[in-house]
Assembly symmetry: C2
Homo-oligomer: 425 residues x 2
Amino acid sequence: MAKPSVVRAAYWIETPYEPARAAEAMAGEQSTGTFIAVPGETDEVRERSAARIVSVRQSEVVRQPSLPGAATPIGHDGNYHRCEVVLEFPYANFGPSIPNLLATVAGNLYELQEFSGIRLMDLDLPDEFAAAYAGPKFGVAGTRRLAGVQDRPIIGTIVKPSVGLTIEELRAVVRGLAEAGLDFIKDDELNASPLFAPFEHKVKAVMEEIERASERTGRKTMYAFNITGEIDELKRRHDLVAESGGTCVMVSVQSIGLAGLAHLNRYSELPIHGHRNQWGMMTRCPMLGMSFTAYQKLCRLAGADHLHVNALNSKFYESNGSVIRSVQAIREPLLGGYEAMPVLSSGQSAAMVEDTYRELGTCDLLHVAGGGIMAHPDGPGAGVLSMKQAWEAAKLGVSAAAYAESHPELRRALEKFGGRQQGGK
Amino acid sequence: MAKPSVVRAAYWIETPYEPARAAEAMAGEQSTGTFIAVPGETDEVRERSAARIVSVRQSEVVRQPSLPGAATPIGHDGNYHRCEVVLEFPYANFGPSIPNLLATVAGNLYELQEFSGIRLMDLDLPDEFAAAYAGPKFGVAGTRRLAGVQDRPIIGTIVKPSVGLTIEELRAVVRGLAEAGLDFIKDDELNASPLFAPFEHKVKAVMEEIERASERTGRKTMYAFNITGEIDELKRRHDLVAESGGTCVMVSVQSIGLAGLAHLNRYSELPIHGHRNQWGMMTRCPMLGMSFTAYQKLCRLAGADHLHVNALNSKFYESNGSVIRSVQAIREPLLGGYEAMPVLSSGQSAAMVEDTYRELGTCDLLHVAGGGIMAHPDGPGAGVLSMKQAWEAAKLGVSAAAYAESHPELRRALEKFGGRQQGGK
């Protein structure tokens, strides 16, 4: 008989209890147990549905709890044990359902008194999930085909100011960028359908400019329209973009939920650009929430073709090491596929390219510079060129500084933005 | 001219920068600014869309950052300033859209280096949201009508074991509880549609038992079927429950997203029981995430008729003070309405009732005891009676101990569960 399928979940916990007891509380609460023995929790029920403790490995002991509200066990010695706990949950408890998987692996356990810290680090899902979730329809290859870019990252920008432009002001910005031959433009996550620039008008104006520019440049800039909204709006907005000749839609994944993303992915005909704003809430506290390693698997299953990972030397709190791990996680095949494209964004400019290529070693990236293109001293067109030149240099193995000697747009970008990576944390 | 509508958002921040500068970073990043000045951020754009700092009030200075990754400003004196910051965002930037509101008030700002702590404490929304979101269709009054309970809390239980029962085992549990005259039964959040007890079979078996018991008791137990699933499943499952004569559906709000909840609420014909599992991830770190005060407003707008708040003396980390504030927040009218029913659940039994009534001073509650009913020493029927007796005593102003002298089910419950409230934290 085949072994029943399981979901394996790895956690990082901190607990005032003996590690084994804390692991039992996790396994019990998230499967057949509760705070007290109940009739009906028979051997058959446990056999069918109890979570199993695979391993408990203590790594350190601390004297201060990371999070408030943990219990003080009778006779507590003041120690808080930090451990890696791996659990296995019977797949049959929830079936191939991300929403119900989440209630199991990332649900009430965050609130249990047994822990002064608990973080979901990784998830290992059985093949049944692959049958239930089609995943990205475009991924790296499909996005490259639509954007007409091979052999280097897709270079993009965010319309700035993030929000506040009228349709006519937006039109002028898009015209400049599309005529400069930019591969990719995206709405800011703050900008979906402002009252002074409604989505429908935006699509019409943007696509007119992109089509017009493509007649001259021979290339059609990919524009990620931020379709974030209610479930029915997603469909209407996606369909409008597709009918208007657009080639990408963007969503704030946390705003529409993974269920909203999976729903969109059932009918979508365009790459889905996944923005992870709000994610910081779930991950910035090191002893709570979820790691990106786990989260990105769920996003890819649910259908994200592109997924934001911040960027090196960004304006965000995240370390470069963490960003590098995020890119590696996305590039790792999931259930044999689910190829998605990491999106580097935040505080980017041509000055970041050299480090980025050295650290990541791949060009299968969507490299988005907002201010770094829009605020180039010689205008957005020069900003686009400076990004392309920086990637040419990186691929040739030439330093950006050396390449800049013969490439004025890159030189000017390095002059303006080059100091930023020394600042910050 | 009428003043343009705004959303007011209150935050608790911790920052290594001067508080005013940190507040400017928040306002800038979440409206018209970015890390560097860009052309196009004109006075008109700012007038239309810039967020406004209403107030910055410093409360304390600490020497250690709460969260990692904050910048070290040049010349930093080692102080981290904790402040309340109130911002106003132009409503026109996002319109009456919870998904887009979230990207603005709770988006990328959690990741900014300017902060070593940032938490959304409250939201004040303009009336336009009321026109866009119908909110709960049943609330307290409608739920009471359907459950046939006035003048005391609706008393409920969770089917335990949480997961693992076959349909026939579940049938026996439901029969016992419905025949005991229980007002309300809910699925556990772990239990939506296990492979060994699929949703469709569950609805059939449960409703047969509930209808049969109601013929004898004259009362129809409300059963909250956990319909959590993908967007299309929500509709199919809701419709099946409604067609089968069921009177409540339950969802894991974080699993389906607020957008999923609002979508369900557009067609739902039954009270929506909102379970907040996964919420701990967003709130347990005191210097990150979101307060329940803000979150519950969004849940009510999106249509939750019932909303979990943990409970007094629960098995969770949350303090009683925090639970009391949560109940008060839900009972506060929102935009003139959006009445919802607080659900007390976790570690509950008849032994918790006296404290609960004293602290909350209301019976407009759904009081759910899982183990406290199912594990009553004389069985679930006696568990139900013990809860009713405890609430009778509380309303009469008689102590539970005194009332127990003439009420054996209550006495036995106090004997078994009465010690728990002294334990824990």
